[in-house]
């Protein structure tokens, strides 16, 4: 709960209702407790209530489970991150209680399952403990048959009561969720929910109510980043994809596999990642941009074929949902350590476009942008998202569907003549035609990975290799020159500029807000176009004494992260420095600010 608005004194009256603008609630249990579902309901409810919402979760990477958390932050104002500190912890087990109590702000609420948790006396004075026999009450309500399945809905009921949530909307959400399942499932769910809602929170001194949100234009939709990206691809006109399962990419392929048939499209689960990208490239070559994607190891496997698409100038979208690396790494943790492979992956000089969405909403629009860039520039486009954005749920304004949806079916009208790789094309950009197109001159093009002449036939000519290499580069330089200059968040001049990319946009902006509120001179800029870089960055950097590139990756051999390396190489400005970490967790606002201050104090390092 935004600290300024919660009534501060630990008061007595149990019926007190406090108005809050936001709340951060962390649910901690095991992976089979269905706590993601609680979070999902809350997030969706917030969306329907025109509130902002952001979630954050961790899941174990083994199947048989292990500790798992879900954190949700709901606010009437702007919600930028999932919150550094929780206002309330819901702890299902002793380990949940002990491992997560320190994530709660002092004075915050700890609601625990008194059937499993033994309270530590030394913490009782620092946090407001609320005991609820969650397990036994759930069993009471729905019987012991459903394993531990009802606990989450019971807990949702508790939370609904505590935060005075909109009951009819919540009930509708629950019913919708279980529609299509056995009727008894819906009944059980509602029973558990009602038992929680009805549970007497006798020892709770206070309940809460969100202040009214500002009216927004249009409706809000609620989903996670992987869903947004998948739907964005559909809106963009993608009708074919191929991939191999891997966490956290799999959700996207599963969704597309399920949804595309409605649009006459197909998604193929292939035998491996090489086959997948090849199938997608084949479909792209056949006329309509296709998609493939993966995470971690699967991305490494795709680089050879990606290079072919660069060379043959076949459009393609590759989604990289980053996770902890290297190798199998940390499959369910977040990391931003694939920037280098996205930009440089593959042998030879193989320039391609790399985009990084910054929020769940941006996943949707980046997918569309990727498809359009791929088509216009006949190039593969890599979208680098990450585990955090992929799995966190946000509410955003519903897109104007009719406007954003596009038809990209190939045009097979006969043409007079055609060169796939014309040397005189302005800026190296040349449109493509699909097989099946009749060419009246009788001269047909070949798509190839060998260096080639204008028709695609192989060449060993030094001159042609120089010219074609330049074409492949120039079209991306052209794209780079036309990109919008990124907008600064905060004043355009000051002491510290935080530069970020991808999922860190929220925490970085919140860090800027918090720092400025404390009187510090901090601004930020977020880079969505990783390669080519947008114009104007040098002017932005010029306004600041310190430029810190905030990234969730390693500081590398010489003290800076991956985007930082790119920026330092391009701008050769030693004030551009790294601010990195590799703990597999999203940045906390405090972490960013503390590290930035320490870096400033340290002064320019000798590299």
């Amino acid at each position: 709960m935004s600290e300024s608005t919660v009534t501060p004194p630990v008061s007595a009256s149990p019926a007190k209702v406090s108005k809050v603008t936001e709340a951060v609630i962390r649910f901690a249990g095991n992976s089979q407790d269905g706590i993601q579902a609680i979070g999902g309901f809350l997030a969706r409810l917030a969306g329907r209530s025109e509130q902002e919402v952001m979630t954050f979760m961790t899941i174990p990477s083994t199947i048989s489970g292990g500790p798992s958390i879900f954190q949700v932050r709901i606010g009437s104002g702007e919600v930028l991150s999932a919150g550094d500190e929780a206002d309330m912890l819901v702890a299902f087990y002793q380990h949940s209680y002990e491992d997560h109590i320190h994530s709660v702000r002092k004075g915050g609420i700890v609601l625990y399952d008194s059937d499993h948790v033994q309270v530590k006396p030394e913490w009782e004075s620092e946090y407001r403990h609320v005991a609820v026999p969650i397990s036994s009450r759930t069993i009471e309500a729905i019987g012991g048959t459903a394993k531990d399945k009802g606990k989450n809905l019971f807990t949702l009921g508790l939370v609904a009561k505590m935060f005075d949530l909109n009951l009819p909307k919540l009930e509708r959400l629950i019913t919708e969720r279980f529609t299509g399942k056995d009727e008894s499932v819906v009944k059980n769910a509602m029973m558990a929910f009602n038992a929680g809602y009805g549970f007497s929170l006798g020892n709770l001194f206070e309940t809460f109510q969100f202040v009214e949100s500002q009216k927004r234009d249009g409706h809000q939709v609620v989903m996670n980043g992987n869903e947004a990206m998948a739907y964005g691809l559909i809106a963009a006109g993608i009708r074919f994809g191929a991939a191999y399962p891997i966490t956290p990419w799999s959700d996207i392929m599963e969704l597309l596999r399920r949804e595309l048939p409605k649009y006459g499209g197909t998604f193929v689960q292939c035998e491996d990642e090489i086959a997948s990208i090849s199938m997608a490239i084949g479909a792209s070559w056949a006329g309509r941009v296709a998609v493939t994607g993966s995470s971690g190891p699967g991305i490494s496997l795709k680089t050879e074929a990606l290079g072919w698409a660069v060379m043959a100038e076949v459009p393609l979208v590759v989604c990289d949902i980053q996770r902890g690396g290297p190798s199998t790494g940390m499959p369910t943790s977040v990391e931003q350590s694939d920037l280098n492979i996205a930009v440089y992956g593959g042998h030879g000089d193989s320039p391609r476009v790399v985009l990084a969405p910054t929020s769940v909403e941006d996943c949707f629009y980046t997918a569309i942008e990727a498809v359009n860039i791929a088509r216009k520039y006949s190039t593969p486009v890599v979208i680098i998202s990450d585990q955090a954005i992929a799995t966190r749920i946000e509410a955003f304004t519903e897109p104007n569907m009719e406007k954003v949806c596009q038809d990209i079916s190939p045009d097979l009208t006969p043409v007079a003549d055609y060169k796939p790789y014309p040397l005189n094309a302005p800026d190296g950009i040349s449109p493509r035609i699909a097989p099946g197109t009749r060419i009246m001159s009788g001269k047909y093009p070949i798509a190839t990975g060998l260096e080639h002449d204008e028709m695609g036939h192989p060449t060993g000519s030094p001159k042609l290799h120089t010219q074609m290499t330049a074409r492949r580069r120039k079209k991306l330089q052209k794209l780079g020159s036309e990109l919008p200059v990124p907008k600064i968040y905060g004043p355009p001049e000051g002491n510290i500029l935080l530069v970020g990319w991808g999922s860190t946009e929220g925490p970085i902006r919140e860090a800027v807000d918090r720092a400025r509120a404390a009187g510090d001179s901090v601004s930020s800029v977020h880079i969505r176009h990783i390669s080519p870089l947008p114009p104007g960055l040098e002017n932005i950097f010029a306004g600041f004494n310190n430029v810190f590139v905030v990234e969730m990756n390693d500081e590398g051999l010489y003290g800076y992260g991956q985007l930082c390396g790119l920026l330092r190489a391009r701008y050769c400005d030693p004030k551009i420095r790294g601010l990195t970490k590799t703990d597999g967790l999203t940045f906390r606002v405090r972490e960013i600010l503390d590290r930035a201050k320490a870096n400033v104090a340290e002064g320019l390092r000798k590299m």
């Binding site: 809106a235 409605k262 199938m279 074929a305 949806c405 990209i408 006969p414 197109t437 093009p445 070949i446």
Partner: protein, 315 residues
């Protein structure tokens, strides 16, 4: 939110021309000349020339529409094929021509998808794609030009090199048991499996026609001599060299999988013709069925309306 949405024009500045013939009017059938491109860079005498010549003949004989022919290959001497055909084509990467071609086949039912490649491309680096394209039964015709050696990289052992073959990587003679193309294809689930040789053009053309007419993944292993690095490899299958060209016995039931394995077990030169054939549904057909069912549920809706309906449930 998204700051730049590039609008991609579909065709850019390519001049579209009206088809010269009236719609529906008969087109002049294509000729060998129409579809011959570069002079092949193969060594004089290479078996691959015959395969190309018969491909041209097939196109002519079957009066294919020029723009509907697609020729796809991996990497190798044999895989240079698409450059020599004047038609839409792609020269993809080593060993992965099948998944590429699957992408074409599954999205463009109007095109004829022909894939060419060598034994290394097919059975070494590409072996797993052969198996999975086979089990999925994706419609296309694949001609494996088997010369028992790596030609383009100059004489290394290939997965079909017989025991004892002296290559640069087995100067003392190959020791790894070669794969048996027929057995691998049949056990993987290919629905049309045939064997031919470049020295018997009539038979090869017959096989190509049958393969093209098969609704599924049709594969021909065609012996194609590498005169540079494995001269005489197939002499014993060539009557003009004193060898024996024996057809698959007329009594062979091409739908009998076990009989096909038995046929495949014969020592070289073995038999030529169709070893196995089966009419199970293609993946193309299966996916089309799924799509028909899914689309029936949203009949009459525009794409954006379908997506809108989904978003309505995400509120």
């Amino acid at each position: 939110m998204s700051e730049t949405i590039v609008q991609a024009p579909a065709r850019g500045n390519i001049t579209a021309v009206p088809a010269i013939e009236l719609p529906g009017a008969e087109r002049k059938p294509i000729t060998k000349k129409d579809i011959s491109a570069d002079h092949p860079t193969w060594c004089p005498g290479c078996g691959d020339f015959s395969v190309l010549a018969l491909y041209f003949k097939l196109m002519e004989k079957r009066k294919m529409l020029h723009e509907k022919i697609t020729t796809i290959a991996g990497i190798g001497c044999s895989s240079r094929f698409p450059y020599f055909v004047q038609a839409h084509g792609a020269h993809y990467i080593h060993g992965r021509s099948l998944p590429f071609s699957s992408g074409v086949s599954l999205t463009r039912p109007d095109l004829h998808v022909f894939v060419f490649g060598g034994d290394g491309d097919a059975f070494s680096i590409g072996g797993n794609h052969v198996n999975h394209t086979a089990r999925k039964n994706i419609k296309m015709t694949y001609v494996i030009m088997d010369n028992w050696v790596y030609g383009l990289t100059k004489k290394q052992t290939s997965p079909t090199s017989p025991l004892g073959f002296k290559s640069k990587t087995d100067t003392w003679g190959a020791m790894d048991q070669p794969i048996n193309p027929m057995k691998q294809l049949i056990s993987a689930g290919a629905t049309f499996v045939a064997r031919a040789t470049h020295t018997n053009p009539n038979h090869l053309l017959q096989m190509m026609e049958a393969a093209m007419d098969h609704d599924g993944f049709s594969v021909i292993e065609c012996l194609s001599e590498c005169v540079e690095f494995y001269e005489g490899a197939f002499d014993s299958s060539n009557p003009r060299k004193g060898g024996k060209f024996e057809l698959v016995p007329a009594t062979h039931d091409v739908t009998d999988e076990n009989a096909a394995y038995a046929l495949a077990a014969a020592p070289f030169p073995g038999h030529f013709g169709i070893f196995y054939k089966n009419n199970r549904p293609t993946k193309n057909a299966n996916e089309a069925k799924i799509n028909a069912a899914a689309m029936a549920k949203v009949a009459g809706k525009k794409d954006w309306e379908i997506l809108q309906a989904t978003f309505n449930r995400l509120k």
